[in-house]
């Protein structure tokens, strides 16, 4: 099995590295710095770390003001609070004035686990994706996390990076770079494309293997850049394979599956079958139990793949 690394650990490390060379980088948290790993930055650069206490609206507002003053703020808390409690602050104080704020939200998705639905952000990508000027990234592993964080620091404008609590299997290595709006074909096939983000990328690779053992030819695409979406990659997948499965640790409403379906419907209609949380609140439990229970496992992707293949129009 692949090595497993925690994305938030690499977030913490990367902002410390960035902070060494770029004195404009500042970091804010809302009483979760140990969990989000911003504590690593706080320890190294106490003068450039601002704890806002349990006050997420104020977290985003203050970050916006720091950006207005020429700083490059990274603001972190759990994704449910960053995207939910502070949604309007993100809209009004960050995206509308296009402030240079980076929101790195940890503990997204259901793999938060035993804390239960109150802490499981399954609408965060949808909420962030709908705001103009926002870039939304859901990295597939720790190295892509580090690359996206480095890229976010260079880029001038709002970025939302959604991380998870647990460790993800490693897909990339230290040389990984990140571009907004650029998908990554991990595997090229001719019969079916699986477009995934976050943890579901590794699980999609497992599903592809199962399908391939059954004689199917499968593409796997890491669409970590949910917004801007790599439309070219989606349309290429639609044209070349004629059937698509999307897989995300998020509601099937408004996230990656929606973004892909929107693109395909308008420009290259082919069947799109979405794997994700099916418009419901989940349960407490371990990450593994939850992924299986709510059909976010390789078996469910395989089933979705078969459905997409069966919906495919006969060629010719």
């Amino acid at each position: 099995m692949a090595e497993q690394l925690a994305l938030r650990e690499y977030y913490g490390k990367t902002i410390v590295e960035l902070g060494e060379t770029n004195k404009d980088i500042v970091v804010l948290d809302a009483d979760l710095s140990g969990s989000t790993k911003t504590s690593m930055f706080a320890k190294k650069f106490p003068d450039r770390f601002f704890n806002m206490g349990v006050a997420e609206q104020n977290l985003i507002g203050t970050a916006s003001g720091l950006a207005a003053g020429g700083k490059i703020p990274f603001a972190s808390t759990f994704s449910i609070f960053a995207s939910g409690r502070a949604w309007e602050q993100v809209r009004q104080a960050v995206c509308y004035p296009r402030q240079n704020v980076k929101i790195v939200a940890t503990h997204g998705g259901i793999t938060v686990g035993p804390d239960g639905p109150s802490h499981q952000a399954t609408e965060d990508v949808s909420l962030m994706r709908s705001i103009p000027n926002m870039n939304v990234v859901v990295p597939a592993d720790a190295y892509e996390t580090a690359a996206a964080v480095r890229r976010a620091a260079e880029y001038n404008g709002p970025v939302f990076i959604r991380l998870a609590r647990g460790k993800f299997p490693v897909i990339y290595d230290e040389s990984k770079t990140y571009s907004f709006g650029k998908a990554d074909f991990l595997k090229k096939g001719s019969g079916l494309s699986i477009i995934a983000c976050g943890l579901m990328v590794s699980i999609a690779m497992e599903a592809a293997e199962i399908l391939e053992n059954d004689g199917e030819s499968v593409s796997v695409i890491n669409m970590s850049s949910i917004k801007p979406l790599d439309k070219e990659a989606v349309l290429t997948a639609a044209r070349e394979t004629g059937a698509i499965v999307t897989a995300e640790e998020h509601s099937i409403i408004g996230g990656l599956g929606s973004a892909v379906a929107e693109t395909v419907c308008e420009d290259e209609p082919v069947p799109v079958v979405r794997v994700g949380v099916r418009d419901m609140f989940c349960s407490s439990g371990s990450a593994e139990e939850l992924l299986e229970c709510y059909h976010l496992d390789s078996k469910s992707i395989v089933e979705a793949g078969r459905k997409a293949l069966s919906l495919k129009r006969p060629t010719g």
Binding site: A55, G61, S64, G65, L66, A68, G69, G70, K71, Q89
Partner: protein, 277 residues
């Protein structure tokens, strides 16, 4: 643009700003006269006397900054910015029109001189804090000024930001509370009381100055006292009159978001005409 400490001169500027505000609102056909007229004296005191600023200075330069947290008073800010030379006065008559640089509420990307985008109440003070923190990191001992409404003071985020400014010892933060005692649905005591103001803000760690918010002498003294506070942020609690300067608007909630008709504008402009004319 000339700075002045002469109170009569500032009163004269305020008189002209009130006329601009009413004309802008009349022309646009919608907007908020009451709360623009209640805070414009404070803005005049800043932009023509106390604020260290000039249109020539860039975003990153050392200078004082101003955040209009109660963004619906945009006409007051726009009139003052135009007068101070941030943009051409003719722009004022495009307020709220399609593709105008003067949006219904202040927007930093649209209007020169607008520091922070506002309109959603309760958010400006957090951003003012962020600016003050950035100033501190940049080694600039500038002041950050902010105007909040008394209805706006009901927003939870104001209190989050109040805590933050005291916690981070933002002594350069000077906030004017425009206590016109009215919000949209009526008097604060009937809708949702924010009183007692002094006790609450002092308990949050702020230095407090209570003044008549239309008296330039008192505004100056309050700002000077606030500037002496090196660690505590300051709240200038200004007793104001909603619709100040136009007799038929004064003290009435109904003038919050209604603009004068042709007739009403005429009457108002007559009242605001210079003495002896």
């Amino acid at each position: 643009m000339n700075f002045t400490n002469d109170i009569d001169e500032l009163k004269e500027i305020s008189r002209r700003m009130r006329i601009d505000i009413l004309k802008m609102l009349h022309k646009s056909g919608s907007g908020h006269p009451g709360g623009s007229l209640s805070c414009v004296d404070f803005l005049v005191a800043l932009y023509f006397s106390k604020l260290d600023h000039s249109p020539a200075r860039g975003k990153r330069d050392k200078r004082d900054k101003f955040v209009l947290s109660k963004g619906h008073a945009a006409p007051a800010l726009y009139s003052v910015l135009a007068e101070a030379g941030y943009f051409d006065k003719d722009e004022l008559w495009t307020l709220r029109q399609l593709k105008s640089s003067l949006s219904g509420h202040p927007h930093a990307l649209s209007t020169p001189g607008v520091e922070i985008t506002t309109g959603s109440l309760g958010q400006g003070l957090s951003q003012a804090n962020g600016i003050a923190l950035a100033d501190r990191l940049n080694g600039h001992d500038s002041n950050v000024y902010c105007v909040i409404g008394d209805g706006e003071n009901q927003e939870g985020q104001i209190w989050e930001a109040a805590m933050t400014a005291a916690h981070y010892k933002l002594g350069g933060m000077i906030v004017f509370l425009d206590n016109n005692d009215l919000q949209i649905d009526g008097h604060l005591r009937d809708v949702m009381s924010i009183y007692p103001i002094k006790e609450k803000w002092e308990a949050f760690g702020w230095h407090l100055e209570e003044i008549d918010g239309h008296d330039f002498g008192q505004i100056f003294e309050a700002i000077e006292n606030a500037k002496k506070e090196k660690e505590k942020p300051s709240l200038i609690w200004g007793h104001t009159v909603k619709g100040k300067g136009v007799s038929f608007m004064e003290g009435l909630a109904k003038w919050h978001g209604v603009v004068p008709s042709d007739e009403e504008l005429k009457t108002a402009l007559k009242e605001l005409a210079p003495a002896g004319k």
